[in-house]
Symmetry: C2
């Protein structure tokens, strides 16, 4: 059984806290935990906008706090994000998220993120071997 406390990780395991332009992600579970998915608590700063395209991953994102919008760049559709709303990128959907207020999200990735990926210029995560 793995037990991890978000509030301890952000103090004592800085390697699990990853930040980039206006977002921070705390990796609660990564590939080497052997669960077959990874689980992250992610913060998007108020006023920020992010375009991602996870070509190699499925991701679900559940809003725990905040307010914003997601645009499906394939269709142009815009969906409100607020507590209780989940979006799931079942078609590796390229998308833009805008945080009108700080968004705090619970995110699952399949395949699991290893922690070694970088966001590439095209908005995707490379697979470790890619």
């Amino acid at each position: 059984m793995i037990i991890r406390d978000f509030n301890k990780l952000i103090e004592d395991e800085k390697s699990r806290v990853v930040s980039d332009a206006n977002w921070t992600s705390v990796r609660m579970l990564l590939a080497d935990d052997g669960m077959g998915f990874s689980f992250h608590i992610t913060f998007l700063e108020a006023g920020s906008e992010h375009t991602f395209h996870y070509k190699n991953h499925f991701e679900s994102v559940y809003c725990m706090q905040g307010k914003g919008r997601i645009t499906d760049l394939a269709t142009g559709e815009v969906h409100e994000i607020k507590p209780g709303v989940m979006y799931a990128l079942d078609k590796h959907d390229k998308h833009t998220v805008v945080a009108d207020e700080e968004l705090i999200m619970a995110c699952c990735f399949n395949p699991p993120v290893t922690g070694k990926e970088v966001h590439r210029e095209d908005g995707s995560y490379a697979l470790e071997d890619a």
Copy 2:
């Protein structure tokens, strides 16, 4: 892209809301969504105690609200559950959860739950074909 709103599901898609003895689970993602994991928001009533043993699944559980305890029945170890604490059953660990206050948890299952499982007497979920 799948968009689901917890607050709409509990009103309009009752088939996604499953209750048993002192717990309720809202299935935000199931196997047929094709994500390779399922994602549930689960409520354990204040004062309730639950013993589960997911012999066929890995599960991670992130506490969003409430207070309680988990006992690893293999070792006897007890861990506090409070907001920010996650437990992950990477060894299909048999465990008992006690909710001192109502617990609201974000849960991921691999393989994904189909929605057709029942908790068996041994505390496990059967696989659909098992």
